[in-house]
């Protein structure tokens, strides 16, 4: 029977990236995927005839350019087009237009508050300081601060060195930043309600936290630390949808001789003599491998496909307590034409970016309150984008594909989800949009409504949590997923983790998969095929 050098469980972007770097090093690699298609949450499929739905992740910024370059993904079909600007509509018919051109953006902020226009300069520079600091650690294995190994000590020293490259006052600010709520953080800069609401949106996306919850300031950074061609904080659309990222990595993997099997769900990781030996599929088929890598989240890996008798009690307990709360929903909508937004002038470029309909911090916090009570937000925060304005491959000419990310939506609606409740959730979101776009409903040809429950069912993300685990300090860096297990190695030999449950966390980044590949190759004594950080002096 054939035995592989490595089996990677889950063909999401991290699993594929991990497998690609292993295959590039000459390993015989197999990726097994439960669905009949690849991509995990980095997926695009034709769910309505003529329309490509990126029904989970929908925009790209965090994906590391080093990986893009190292796997030659441009030649494998990937193209990321920067998206421009955004808008937050106000309830009084006005809006804040986050124009992509700096001169008019500044004037627009000044329209809401002259002071805020100048404070934005301070805000941008400060956020860039934290971005610069953290970006250097994305493609590195977090050091274990409790370890006495030379490598850990060196890495920890390097971390401290970057930290102390900040000035004294910056160090104080940085420590505060990691523990603050986004509302409190932004209020140190801005005074206008709509500006505060607009800039805080990125800090609640995907989290089970509200704008006044400590720790949300970091989530803003997590969404701002990516870049497109050096423009830090920029977001873009993958041409053809987010699935293009998975397809390009898969194509690179196959070009190195790697294999992918879809429709092959793993039942269990086989462990013998405290060593991983391969996997058993749901079908009963057993596949052996020298190394087994799980791209599943920490809960699903340790509580789902591993036998408790193979695991230390500590790992089981940590996995049980791992914070991975689903809080996001998604509507994917095929439209018969471009919707009108009467608050905007005809031809306004603001529809090209992220569109929001929540104009105060208070409304954002109330939306969170609903979620805590196991209800979807009655007044939801949405991040609406219309990528078909850029990408002709997503919808027929003149028609549009709309992606609506929704915060908040509970894992279990009070008393459990039913078809009626799911429809009611969808209607709440569509009503929110229709408040600002009167012809929106008339244009709808097809809607896919996804609560955390559907997201979990399709992608396997526990609770439908898009980050494979909450992005709070207790679950970041050397604490991710658990203290002592942050270096991608599992609790049994030859078993590794490569998903977003590991450092540096969620978002379509590819860094966890790549970092895990580096550690695996190191353990196997193979040449390192993973890229160095580009660095930034």
């Amino acid at each position: 029977m054939k035995s592989y050098d490595a089996i990677v469980i889950g063909a999401g972007h991290n699993g594929l990236a991990n497998a690609a770097f292993l295959a590039k090093a000459g390993l015989d690699v197999l990726v097994v995927e439960k669905n009949d298609y690849i991509g995990g949450a980095t997926v695009s499929r034709e769910l309505h005839e003529g329309w490509q739905y990126s029904n989970c992740s929908y925009v790209c910024s965090l994906f590391r350019p080093e990986i893009y370059q190292a796997l030659d993904l441009g030649r494998h079909g990937l193209e990321v087009v920067p998206l421009q600007g955004g808008v937050t509509f106000k309830q009084n018919g006005d809006y804040y237009g986050n124009y992509h051109q700096p001169a008019i953006r500044r004037r627009e902020i000044a329209r809401h508050s002259k002071r805020d226009a100048d404070a934005a300069i301070r805000f941008d520079a400060d956020l860039m300081k934290w971005c610069r600091l953290i970006r250097g650690f994305l493609l590195r294995t977090p050091p274990d601060p409790a370890s006495f190994k030379i490598r850990d000590a060196m890495e920890f020293a390097s971390l401290l060195k970057s930290f102390y490259s900040l000035s004294e006052s910056q160090i104080y600010e940085f420590i505060r930043f990691f523990t603050m709520s986004i509302a409190e953080y932004l209020e140190e800069y801005f005074e206008s309600d709509v500006i505060l609401a607009h800039f805080s949106g990125g800090s609640i996306i995907g989290t089970g936290l509200g704008v006044y919850s400590p720790g949300t300031a970091y989530v803003l950074l997590h969404h701002a630390m990516g870049d497109i061609d050096g423009n830090v904080g920029s977001w873009g659309f993958a041409r053809g949808g987010m699935g293009s990222i998975a397809k390009a990595i898969a194509s690179a993997l196959q070009s190195y001789g790697g294999n992918i099997r879809t429709g092959a769900e793993v039942q269990e990781i086989k462990v013998r003599g405290r060593k991983a030996r391969g996997v058993v599929l749901k079908s009963g088929e057993e596949i052996s491998a020298r190394v087994v890598v799980s791209n599943l989240d920490a809960k699903r890996t340790f509580l789902g496909i591993m036998n408790p008798k193979d695991l230390p009690e500590y790992v089981i307990r940590r996995a049980e307590n791992f914070k991975i709360r689903g809080s996001s929903g998604k509507l994917n909508i095929a439209l018969d034409g471009m919707p009108d937004f009467p608050a905007l002038e005809k031809g306004s470029p603001l529809t090209l970016g992220h569109m929001h309909f929540t104009d105060t911090l208070e409304r954002l916090e109330r939306a969170y309150d609903d979620w805590k009570d196991d209800r979807w937000s009655a007044d939801p925060y949405v991040d609406l984008v219309i990528p078909s304005q850029y990408d002709p491959t997503l919808a027929p000419a003149g028609k549009h594909m709309v992606s609506v990310f929704v915060q908040y939506c509970p894992v279990e609606a009070e008393g459990g989800w039913t078809e009626e409740k799911r429809e009611a959730f969808g209607a709440t979101v569509i009503d929110q949009i229709a408040n600002y776009s009167p012809n929106f409903k008339d244009l709808i040809l097809h809607v896919e409504i996804r609560t955390p429950s559907e997201i979990e069912a399709e992608t396997g993300l526990t609770g439908g949590n898009i980050f494979q685990g909450e992005l709070t300090l207790d679950q970041l860096m050397f604490n991710r997923p658990f203290p002592g297990y942050a270096q991608y190695r599992g609790p049994v030999k030859n078993m590794y983790m490569c998903g977003s449950s590991t450092h540096p966390g969620g978002g379509v980044m590819g860094a966890p998969g790549t970092n895990a590949a580096r550690e695996i190759l190191r353990d196997l004594g193979k040449v390192n095929t993973t890229p160095e950080d580009f660095g930034d002096d």
Binding site: D94, Y95, G97, Y99, Q101, A103, I104, R106, R107, E108, R111, H112, K114, R115, D116, A117, D118, A119, I121, R122, A125, M128, K129, R132, S165, L166, S167, S169, Q170, E345, G347, S348, P349, L350
Partner: protein, 398 residues
């Protein structure tokens, strides 16, 4: 508040219709959100208008803040490093201001407008910092960038041109003086200030009177009396280096925009120690500056001239030919009037002393072929260009 027209990405100053009509090449740049001429005709003709006749530059986009209220002078004293207690009504002074770490946020000028308070002109957007600094003071701070239109009229014939245009009261106006006068029934404030190192004036009017002011000045040319030419940002860049004026953002990073820890600069490092006064009441950054002042200086922004005829654009500086690298050029020009290469450069000082020798490695190009030369450099303690006519009162008539 009224929404913007998204098509008008850059704002147009009230002088724009005239500037546009006179622009022969239509080359514009954004400056503080305004569509500003880089060049109207040719760089040489604009440069020599400043140095030999009369130039007009639209400086409306310059950031302007009005500071009023009982604590206005207390506020400004706290803000800037310079002692401004002796600044009289009708006078202007050059200032810099720092953050708590003694790092320069911006430079600019304070105009004492008498009963109307003070005007602070700044290169960068400062409202946020000014309001932070005003905490606990009875002072009102309002941005008036867009509410005041301004022209800078500079050059040896600028006095004669303004006289001929019908602006009175300039004869006895000394450098850094302000006079409020009238032109055809509207108010014009004139200050004998500028960014060229030459004889010149800055004229401040209500935006509604902007075109009438422009027409009065250019009318002098139409009447055949004196040549008057509009100039763009490129000619201004040449003369300001000749005059030894620094530009925040080009010659150094302002503390608010600096991201990397060592990228901001103190007044001492910028050669602005002469506007830091430790004897005045407490000002923001004083403690840090006192500490820094007690230590040998590590680096300085200097006025540098290089031999030869190749301006040292983007050059590295060394302590000898093929020696150790000790600095970089920030901005550089060829000066047509001094027939010399002039630059603003940052140089490392060792034990508080400037390097004994400075050499520049200069890359230049002729017909797409790149070449490199080494040239000796010299630090100038004084402005490269400072003619007697700049300060002559009354000014030389033509």
């Amino acid at each position: 508040m009224e929404k913007h027209d998204f098509r008008e990405v850059l704002q147009r100053s009230p002088f724009f219709p005239r500037a546009d009509a006179l622009s022969q090449v239509k080359v514009w740049s954004p400056w503080n959100g305004y569509q500003t001429a880089r060049i109207y005709d040719t760089l040489a003709s604009e440069y020599f208008a400043i140095r030999s006749s009369c130039s007009v530059f639209d400086m409306t986009p310059m950031g302007k803040y009005r500071i009023t209220g009982p604590d206005a002078i207390r506020f400004l004293t706290r803000l800037v490093t310079r002692d401004i207690s002796k600044l009289k009504p009708g006078r202007v002074t050059y200032v810099v201001w720092c953050n708590d770490e003694g790092q320069v946020l911006d430079d600019g000028t304070i105009f004492h407008l008498g009963d109307d308070g003070y005007r602070l002109c700044a290169q960068h957007n400062q409202l946020d910092w000014l309001l932070i600094s005003a905490l606990g003071m009875d002072v009102t701070i309002e941005e008036e960038t867009h509410e005041v239109a301004a022209l800078s009229v500079q050059g040896p014939t600028s006095y004669s041109v303004l006289e001929a245009a019908g602006i009175d009261g300039l004869q006895e106006l000394k450098p850094f003086d302000i006079v409020n006068t009238f032109l055809d029934g509207f108010d014009v404030m004139v200050s004998r200030t500028g960014f060229t190192g030459d004889l010149g004036y800055e004229l401040w009017v209500d935006p509604n009177d902007a075109l009438a002011l422009w027409d009065a000045i250019f009318g002098v040319k139409a009447r055949g009396l004196y040549d008057v030419r509009p100039i763009g940002l490129e000619a201004l860049e040449m003369v300001r280096i000749e005059a030894g004026f620094i530009v925040p953002g080009d010659d150094f990073n302002t503390a608010e925009t600096a991201v990397r820890a060592d990228r901001s600069r103190s007044p001492f490092e910028l050669g602005l120690g002469w506007v830091v006064n430790f004897d005045k009441p407490y000002f923001t950054g004083k403690r840090a500056l006192l500490e820094e002042h007690a230590r040998p200086i590590k680096r300085r922004l200097v006025k540098l001239s290089t031999e030869g005829n190749k301006p040292p654009h983007d050059s590295f500086l060394y302590d000898g030919k093929n020696g150790q690298r000790i600095g970089t050029i920030k901005t550089a020009i060829w000066s047509p009037i001094l027939k010399s290469n002039l630059a603003m450069a940052e140089v490392e000082y060792i034990k508080g002393k400037r390097p004994a020798e400075i050499w520049a490695q200069i890359y230049y190009q002729k017909e797409l072929e790149w070449k490199v030369v080494w040239e000796r450099c010299e630090i100038s303690g004084k402005p490269f260009w400072n003619p007697p006519r700049r300060n002559a009162t009354p000014p030389e008539p033509f």
